[in-house]
Amino acid sequence: MRGPDVAWYLAVAAFLFATGVLGVLLRRSPLIVLLSLEIMLNGANLALIAFSRLHGESSGQIFALAVMAVAASEVVVGLGLIVAIAQKRLDLDVDKLSFLRG
């Protein structure tokens, strides 16, 4: 098998995932949070594809494609929400967007 060992791919996937988690946890802007979510999903995708290559099976890649589709629709919904919030001239800050709290 050509290319680097699967461990490297996994390391990059873990790095991407951790970056995404930190982004979700630390950033306040919903836009950045969505972005970080995409990074987390991509980290997971990378791990899926790496294992798919390792085992010579295509189901992992098909999973990755499905995740991309879900991620795209999620981004659509998320961006729509953010646009709606911005139109109301509310702060784009996830900590302050708590008006739905019971």
Binding site: V21, V24, L25, D95, S98, R101
Partner: protein, 657 residues
């Protein structure tokens, strides 16, 4: 026959339920008739049972009947079981017969009371309870009846529930009786443990070699008997129980319930005979009570209380007889006592009724001139009480006194006490009679009786501090001594009080003994000489008592100071305070209990229990506030917690692997 016995038992219960369920759908008077009819039906059934039993051979006269299994606990079974035997039939006849007369009397006496229906429902309930007690075929049913008579006694003593005195008296009676119930229940537990049954008569064969057990059981039973029959040391509730309506006093606190203790001793004589010391104790308590009650009766100024102490004293005679093993004699005295004591109460009720509820004999005097029939019946009752031949008390009381002569030196002590008792009986009975009846009517009596109209049945209402006690009985007119239902029943009882004793005259014929001896073989059978001696002594001492009463109270118009001033001050206050039993109980039980409760409240309840709960609550509040701080409401913190814990789990997992 068994069917008749069940009918006898159930009829009063049915009446009580009927009156209760119909509520105001039934007129007051009809409630009285329902109750009276049911008790009459019970009496008729009892007579049928008696006649059937009479026709059988004496040895075959015992018929248990179980309606259904009532309790089951392992191998221990209790059925709803009645026992028809000579003793229970004897009691059934007394309870339903005298009960019928008294319930009928109540129709007139309670006429116009606001709550007549409740009264008659209670009365019917009482008659049912008492019949259950005497018909019970095992000790559990007996205890059920025992408790139910206590309950109905409580309800009827406190019948006028807007009078605090009556309510207090009812509570006192109930609590004093509860002491006896408790000792009885303990005795039953011992019997269950030892015999695995409480059915008559299997439960009593404890057998030799269990001295302490038998003694404990007998003591427990004696405790119950003493409490129910108002003997020393649980006697203090009976005089207070006079706060109830007079027919209640006649039925419950003279004729039937208070004699249940005597019945219990006779019924369980097999146990007492195995514990002779306890049986002697019963006789001794009876002797002590008859003396003490006779002495206290000398200074009481309430007409009903005098008769109440006389009841205690007469039950003392019955205990004396039962304790000596003269069971039939005790039961015979129970019978005649039911007649003449109910008569005395009901005649007193006529006086009270006519005087608008006044019970203080210091205000009475010369009542006899205006109420000649009442005077005659009261005189008959008093003569029967003192035991003057040929009145009924002579036959029954003297045979008990004679029985005490046949039991050795202890018997002679009791004999002496009983004889002194007859002297006291003559003295207090005729003190009461002389003060109330002969002579010129007192101003108070004249005011009430001359007009011929009065407020009926306002018994004692004006003795209250609050004159507006809401007993707005109708004022109704009737001349003379009382309505027909009252005078007629009193007349019947007067006849019974005269002739009731003739059914047994110890030296010549003794059907009562023959009837009861198969159930309870007597331990003491006096000889004819002893009978004659006892009768002679008792008669002479009774006459002496009457004579002294005549000398002190008979000659002149009674006035308040003369009634009590002839007795030395120290002994008078001793007697007026009833030998300080109430004070002693207050000192021995009430005050330590209250003191202990206060101490526990101050030292334990406040600082330890209350404090610990307060601390615990504060701790939980702190913990709750702390935990609450974790709930920030920020999704980010939750997400962080999830991610961090996931990370920790992953690291631990990897590291451990």
């Amino acid at each position: 026959m068994i069917v008749a016995a069940w009918i006898c038992l159930v009829a009063p219960l049915a009446a009580a339920l009927l009156i209760t369920l119909l509520g105001t759908g039934i007129s007051r008077r009809a409630a009285g008739y329902v109750a009276t009819t049911s008790v009459l039906a019970a009496f008729a059934a009892a007579v049928v049972v008696f006649a059937k039993l009479w026709s059988e051979a004496p040895s075959a006269r015992s018929h248990p009947s179980t309606a259904w299994e009532w309790l089951t606990a392992g191998s221990f079974h209790v059925g709803l079981r009645i026992l028809v035997d000579p003793l229970s039939v004897f009691m059934m006849l007394i309870v339903s017969g005298v009960g019928f007369l008294i319930v009928a009397y109540s129709i007139g006496y309670m006429d116009g009371d606001d709550e007549e229906r409740r009264y008659f429902a209670y009365m019917a309930l009482f008659v049912f309870s008492m019949l259950l007690l005497v018909q019970a075929g095992n000790l559990v049913i007996l205890l059920a009846g025992w408790g139910l008579v206590g309950l109905s006694s409580y309800l009827l003593i406190g019948f006028w529930h807007d009078r605090p005195v009556a309510v207090a008296a009812a509570k006192k009676a109930f609590i004093m009786n509860a002491v006896g119930d408790a000792t009885m229940a303990l005795a039953f537990f011992l019997l269950i443990q030892h015999r695995q049954t409480l059915d008559f008569p299997d439960a009593f064969g404890v057998g030799p070699g269990h001295g302490w057990l038998v003694n404990l059981v007998a003591l427990g039973l004696l405790g119950g008997a003493v409490a129910k029959s108002a003997q020393i040391p649980l006697q203090t509730w009976l005089p207070d129980a006079m706060e109830g309506p007079t027919p209640v006093s006649a039925l419950i606190h003279a004729a039937t319930m208070v004699t249940a203790g005597v019945y219990l001793i006779v019924r369980t004589h097999a146990v007492f005979e195995q514990a002779p010391r306890v049986q002697e104790l019963a006789a001794g308590l009876g002797a002590g009570t008859l003396l003490m009650a006779g002495l206290i009766a000398l200074v009481q100024t309430d007409i009903k209380r005098v008769i109440a102490y006389s009841t205690m004293s007469q039950i003392g005679y019955m205990f004396l007889g039962a304790g000596l093993g003269a069971y039939a004699n005790a039961e015979f005295h129970l019978l005649t006592h039911a007649f003449f004591k109910a008569l005395l109460f009901m005649a007193a009720g006529l006086v009270i009724h006519a005087l608008a509820g006044e019970q203080d004999i210091r205000k009475m005097g010369g009542v006899g001139r205006l109420m000649p029939v009442t005077r005659l019946t009261f005189l008959i009752g008093s003569l029967a009480l003192v035991g003057v031949p040929p009145f009924s008390g002579f036959f029954s009381k003297d045979s008990i006194i004679a029985a005490s002569m046949s039991r050795g030196w202890y018997g002679y002590i009791l004999f002496a006490a009983a004889l002194i008792g007859t002297f006291l009986t003559g003295l207090y009975a005729f003190r009461l009679f002389m003060i109330v009846f002969p002579g010129e009517p007192s101003p108070f009596v004249r005011e009430h009786l001359m007009r011929g109209s009065h407020a009926a049945g306002m018994e004692g209402a004006h003795r209250e501090a609050d004159p507006s006690a809401p007993h707005d009985h109708e004022v109704h007119e009737h001349s003379g001594e009382g309505p027909f239902s009252m005078t007629a029943t009193v007349a019947v009882l007067a006849v019974l009080a005269v002739v009731g004793g003739w059914i047994q005259f110890a030296p010549l014929w003794h059907p009562v003994s023959n009837w009861l001896d198969p159930v309870a073989r007597p331990l003491a059978v006096p000889t004819s000489t002893q009978e004659a001696l006892a009768s002679l002594f008792a008669f002479l001492l009774g006459l002496a008592g009457i004579g002294v009463a005549w000398l002190i109270y008979g000659a002149r118009q009674p006035t308040a100071p003369r009634i009590t001033s002839r007795v030395p001050v120290w002994s008078r206050s001793l007697l007026e305070r009833k030998f300080y039993f109430d004070e002693a109980y207050d000192f021995a039980f009430y005050r330590p209990a209250v003191g202990l409760a206060r101490l526990l409240g101050r030292r334990i309840e406040g600082p330890i229990i209350g404090g610990s709960i307060k601390e615990l609550a504060a701790g939980f509040r702190e913990a709750g506030l702390g935990t609450g701080r974790l709930q920030t409401g920020l999704v980010r913190t939750y997400a962080f917690a999830i991610a961090a814990s996931l990370a920790v789990i992953t690291i631990v997992f990897v590291a451990v692997r």
